[in-house]
Symmetry: C2
Subunit: 463 residues, 2 copies
């Protein structure tokens, strides 16, 4: 991407005004929901709905055509059928619009006519230097600009994680999981058919985007795999890129071809190449979000030696199981740590001073929890620590103790609060603001750990 | 298990009274929380707290010793340290108590002294025909009897899924996930060290338990693997058994040894043997619960041919990806179904009439949704159907349409509502009462599908 390209992309994601072509008063339709999303998202710029006859939708004055809008349009959202979409994109080009999102499906994924229309979009984009997102997309969001230009009217938590998704449905599933996990979002890009802008373009744009610290990608398949892998690898030197990629069977390959028009391709090949380039691969939406969460909140560990501290053995064991085969080192605690813990709890007690360190029932007492975690976190054998506890009606969650110990040590600390029976949203908010991710399952904790260690290793070997 | 054994087990899980030995007024301690759990769970029988000096705890009169209790005790909960536990179990035996739960840890998992004490428990149990759950356990629950005899004071949704867990923490994590998924529970058994009662015993008991339709198990490792596998296989002929087993690495094997005193053992060996015996294996808490949910709610499919119906391609593709390698057949829809769908939507529309059937934007309209799902569900090529939709502020969820179509067809139907932004709890309740499991992610939907198909196949080849 040239500097000029990046400038256009910035305007596309932070537009001074937005036109919605194909706006309608029918609440089931995309054209209505784009308007509703702009309002719901709190967009502060000017909104120009376009419809040949309506005067007002959702309280906003409507313009009969693109030409009648008194401004130069920064972002055109096109919610028309496939044939009219192509017409309007040409009008956009003529009027000097530089950024558009084309929502409609029905292009190359459905056959010959769609393919021909999509070729026209490429020609128009080239002729007018028009950047087009989609077609066949959920839309885009930029929470920094209070812009929800998707047809899902929601207002989301702001943060430093940006997402690129080839699928709207899975994109939304990732967004939802981020919300459920208290992971703040920066930008969302529904890549759709990637007719003009490819995933590699979005990666390059986000690499230079100050608000984005971590990039999560849902991938079905791409035409130019080499360009994607190289771009992802380049971007991964600057900030973490986590990719969730489908394509484990022929059924999936056939289905992706009819979805956004490209084969998923051999999964293992992708995995090996991504590994080589320092790009992280996730196996599910939950893993993608768990990885993004850790990378969004934690400093990187100085090495890959993990300590586990718990008073409930099973969850620590499940986390260990989730780390099996991921080349994370689980060293024994240093003799000094064992001495410290014995000094806190007494010599002759049924606690397990290996790794995981398991203090059993004694570990639940609020008086000693902070001292124990501090001892574990400061162990010179550990580069990062994961703690496990179980919210309980009559026990205080060890939230303040975790924050205190973390402040003193400077090492990455991840916490797993098994179960949400008591409700852990308030604790999560406080912990995550202090840079300690809170996970509700040991499996997700393991994925967060693996992402931190693997990315820090990748940084080493790439830099 | 003999008939007499089963009778004793039934009394243990449906006791007329419960003694809590080691009851205390300190809310951080297990002895207090057992009492709190009995109250919170709504237990209707008599509760006898035992403490040498206290007069009343949580409003309940306290007895100075087991001997002072005016009743024959049906269930003794022993919340004392390991040495006193052994003493009290002997008293239980002498007094003719037949069922006990021993909560304390500190037995063979911590070394020689613990091992010796545990041997004493075995001797006592044999001498007095005393059934002991644990030690080193979270406790037991029987929701049918409003009995929460664990030290986690919660009240849970009742249903037909029973759980056996070797770990309290993971047991609780499974319970919590069940609650989050609207999966009702029947019994929970924290197996702990399995000193007297082994997992095979619990399986055999639950096999004959009328309230239990599905059995979920979390397993670390066992001493007598042969007995476990044979018991699980025998039980699986009567009702589904889903096992989540850790043990993917040596680190895990070492950790399980110091947890409940047994090695996890070679994972692949377990998997192959379980498969052979018709026992289902899950890879995570989420998968265990997804499988139990489908088996709890759905009738079994007549075969393994799956149809997928969606208006958002990505989630159906992710579900397909989750099914890769699981030998589920994904046949094309029958010509009659394609004709029906065209008759509903029109001939020349950009919809994909393969499998997944993807009606794109047209599929979101409430007027036609029911007709489309009905057409898909009645396709003679499909033995079961999964549908995917995306809750949205301005669209009605297709809940009533799914229920209507399901009623008419008699085939298993699983629904995936991507995202919970709108809140889907009310829809979930209604759908699940109608026998349609609702999943919030396509990965979990795939696990539910796989469990149904695999169990129905197992039933075929075993019967």
């Amino acid at each position: 991407m040239t500097e000029k390209d990046i400038e256009v992309m910035q305007k596309l994601f932070s537009p001074g005004n937005v036109a919605v072509i194909g706006a309608t008063a029918s609440s089931e339709r995309v054209g209505y929901n784009l308007l509703d999303s702009l309002i719901e998202g709190g967009y502060k710029g000017k909104i120009y709905p376009v419809h040949p006859s309506l005067k007002e939708i959702l309280g906003i004055p409507v313009y009969p055509s693109l030409r009648d809008i008194p401004d130069r349009v920064d972002l055109a959202l096109v919610a028309l059928n496939r044939r009219d979409t192509v017409e309007v994109l040409e009008r956009c080009g003529e009027l000097g619009v530089k950024g558009a999102v084309s929502l409609a499906g029905g292009f190359r994924e459905t056959g010959e006519e769609g393919r021909a229309l999509e070729k026209r979009i490429v020609e128009i984009a080239e002729k007018y230097a028009l950047k087009v997102v989609g077609p066949n997309t959920l839309g885009i969001m930029n929470l920094e600009a209070d812009l929800n230009a998707s047809f899902y009217p929601v207002r989301l938590k702001k943060g430093n994680v940006s997402l690129i998704s080839q699928s709207g449905g899975i994109g939304f599933s990732i967004i939802q999981k981020c919300q459920d996990e208290g992971v703040g979002l920066n930008k969302f890009i529904g890549a759709g058919n990637r007719t003009v802008l490819e995933i590699a373009d979005y990666l390059e744009f986000l690499a230079g985007d100050a608000g984005t610290r971590v990039i999560g990608v849902f991938l079905e398949g791409v035409e130019n795999a080499r360009r994607l892998v190289q771009a992802a690898g380049r971007v991964a030197r600057k900030k973490p890129v986590v990719i969730y990629k489908v394509g484990h069977s022929d059924d999936v390959n056939k289905a992706t071809l009819t979805h956004t028009g490209s084969m998923a391709g051999p999964y293992k090949l992708f995995r090996d190449i991504f590994n080589q380039y320092g790009v992280l691969l996730a196996g599910s939406v939950a893993e993608l979000v768990a990885a993004c969460k850790a990378l969004s909140l934690c400093q990187l560990p100085a090495g890959g030696r993990l300590g586990l501290y718990t008073y409930t053995a099973g969850p620590a064991i499940v986390a260990l199981d989730g780390l099996a085969g991921r080349e994370i080192s689980i060293p024994a605690p240093a003799p000094g740590t064992v001495r410290k813990i014995k000094a806190i709890l007494g010599e002759d007690l049924p606690v397990i001073l290996k790794n995981p360190i398991d203090t059993g029932g004694l570990g639940t007492r609020s008086g000693t929890y902070g001292l124990l975690v501090e001892a574990a976190l400061n162990d010179p054998n550990f580069d990062l620590l994961a703690t496990f506890s179980c919210p309980h009606k009559n026990w205080r969650n060890p939230t303040s103790e975790l924050i205190e110990a973390h402040k003193k040590s400077g090492k990455p600390l991840l916490s797993c609060y098994i179960s949400t029976i008591k409700g852990v949203e308030a604790d999560r908010e406080v912990l995550q603001q202090a840079g300690i991710p809170l996970y509700k399952s040991p499996e997700e904790t393991a994925w967060g750990i693996a992402a931190l260690v693997h990315y820090s290793r990748g940084v080493e070997c790439l830099s």
